[in-house]
Amino acid sequence: MFNKLLTGLLCTALLLPAAATADEVNVYSARKEKLIKPLLDQFTAATGIKVNLLTGKADALLKKLELEGENTPADLLITTDAGRLHRAQQAGVLQPVDSATLMAHIPLNMRDPEHYWFGLTYRARPIMYVKARVSPDELSTYEALTDETWKGRICIRSSSNIYNQSLVASMLASQSAEQTQDWANGLVQNFARPPKGGDRDQIKAAAAGQCDIAIANSYYYAAMLAGSDEAQRASAEKLAIFWPNQGADARGTHINISGAAVTKAAKHKDNAIKLLEYMTQDEAQRWYSDVNGEYPVKVGVAANELLQSWGEFKADTLNLSELGTHNAEALRIMDKAGWR
């Protein structure tokens, strides 16, 4: 009896075919289920195309995609930074997409020059300062944070985090390695504490008085302000956003994207492109802004009111594929600087 039951289970559950040929699309997503599933459900309701979702860490999903090669069931890869999309392209697991809709909706610097990947939303990594202790007049650029006046006043998370790797990579793209190394050394000198925790933790630490400045992604700040946790909201309200590098000839505040790409071995390529295009429609773009506090990539779609209240800012126009190119070097620089 037990043997039969076990055999039955093995046959049905263990060897469920991963990919069928029905009207569907398979997605590997580094974006968490909560922050993508509702949109995918809307897509299914609108088009009748079923979406199969596998979420995970970007690096592992990418590795999986590489290993699976031409037999991969995945049609679309979604990540939350440009560096990984670039890495995927370098690994040869993506294919270029020719879509007039995507070209029209997404600005030039937020998609790959050769059309291998496309940005879906962008987020900024500005400086956040404690209103009671810092005047915005004291702030200017990321570069100026190495000044002696900031000694022991800066909170930022570990260099293991991709957003910091991308920030340093963006500096490498605009200046020499020596200058970037000097900057990293100087910044580490000014740390209030050894890096620990996530972006929200930096904001909380600043609010509580451990430091005066936090560098964190804009959507975390938005989530703290809009969330249901009173303590977090109170923390966030003590800080304000400063947009660095805004001068006439400055490069602009560092941004990163969440984006997607069609895999080289996609078995449902048309559906994957449909899904991509769907995610750049006005409503989808607005949904991201409302639910996750990100900026829409599509020109003409207004960001959520909270984001608008922080004011307009000039974003770095660096083509984001450069973030991937400089990633390994950025990490080495941070290692040398003792940025843990």
Partner: protein, 571 residues
Amino acid sequence: MDIARTQRPLTPLGTVTAAQARTSKRTRYLFRALLISMALLVALPVLAVFAYVFVPAPDVWQHLVDTVLADYLANSFWLLIGVGFGVLLLGVPVAWLNSMCRFPGQRIFEWALLLPLAMPAYIIAYTYTGMLDFAGPVQTFIRDATGLGYGEYYFPEVRSLPGAIAMLSLVLYPYVYLLARAAFLEQSVCVLEVSRTLGSSAWHSFFHLALPLARPAIITGLSLALMETLADFGTVHYFGVDTFTTGIFRTWFGLGDSAAAAQLAALLMSVVFMLVLLERWSRHKARYHHTSGKYSVLPKQQLRGKWGALAIVVCTLPIVLGFLIPVLQLLYWAFTVGEQSIDQAFLRLVANSLFLAALAAGFALLLALLLGYGKRLDTHPVVRLSARIAALGYAIPGTVIAIGVLIPFVWLDTQLNNLSKAGFGLSLGLLFSGSLFTLLFAYNVRFLAVSLQTVEAGLGKVKPTIDEAGRSLGLKAFGVLRRLHLPMMQGSLLTALLLVFVDVLKELPATLVLRPFNFNTLAVRAYEMAADERLADAGLPSLMIVLVGIIPVILLSYSIGRARAGSKVQA
């Protein structure tokens, strides 16, 4: 099933025919080949890592040596030392108290001491950080009450190396407690009585008799805790403590060098392997068996007054710190600020987690029995070595194992696809690597050490003379296992089963990489919320992991208490 009962005239000693000898020799070789190939199959991901050892990556190594390697080594070393002492101090005394003494509340402590086992290390780390961090309620209260600011008062930093040691010790000590207690309970009381009647004090008997006799079990518990510590990524990463494990991932993904990352992992495994060998060697070939099979009800010492109070404090502390406080924090998060609700989708997560954990635990036990008993029957060094290598997976981070498992199975799938395309023009898709099969396999690679060591500890306590007696009375090898060993080591078997069950319930990295489409578990949900820095929303799934984990944990304790040979005779 009737092998054992078959009546068969005993071959008179010394009259084995040449034909019989040949058959038995051939069976033995076949059995050996089976054992080695099973072990090597499980060891495949481990071996895949070692395959990278000869790929040169001098440039990256130079960089690592110049910058971060010393930190990785020092942090991992102190973490191991700290957690080692932590789990022994927390685990052994309570194990002894609960097997040999009686004091108020002892029946509850017996199982409640196991509860922290259900708490994933990264989750206890989140809860304590939430409470004790600079911005958390405790320190905020101190500042509000005293008017002091940052740097004007001393408060230990949670997110630090000592913090990581504390967190890991609190959730890993149950391994030591569990195995030590089982060992104390299985000890024949006669040995202790003889010792006492010969004039030894209770303390003397404990340190010179009970402890050395329980040593293999305690070491097993310790090594499980330490291997789990080495493989831990979530806690140390969150605490900003750079260890070997976080280094592997930085090198692999950040520096983009898989060869150097694999070499770091290989180095890690070599250290583990050396520790295992060292422990074997330090026993000086001594064997620890029951010297007497005579069991009677353990005469538990009644502790009263201050000794009773002390026992209660010693037993309460790990439960409060390792379970109650974090659970209260999770409850608070889940029901005040969290937005997650218990709906059908959530119940689906619970079902998926249970299903995976149960199936994986069953497989792991069967495999451990095969390898464990196989090693007993066939002491050929290659058999022993391959089983040792297979069990190394416990010290390797889950993501590394997941990728290591994917490599051979994707290869197999590709070959199958090529065949079927050539033969029928049909694409099969990823038959193995795209299904739960690979995930279950990965769990076995990761957790074989848990089941194998527990089963071995159980088997080790059965004297080989019992096997010989069984065989001479006509039982075959399988019969000895089924009729003699299994009943004698019920407790160990159940322990193996439930430990893997709880471990799989908590497992995250391999599940994340290897689960099929649209299939999520509680651990995955908790992780996704926490990774998005929504700790409050991670509260409910975390709480559910703990709740689901409690059931087997209680069952475990109950059955071990009952499985003691002496208590059966009484019943």
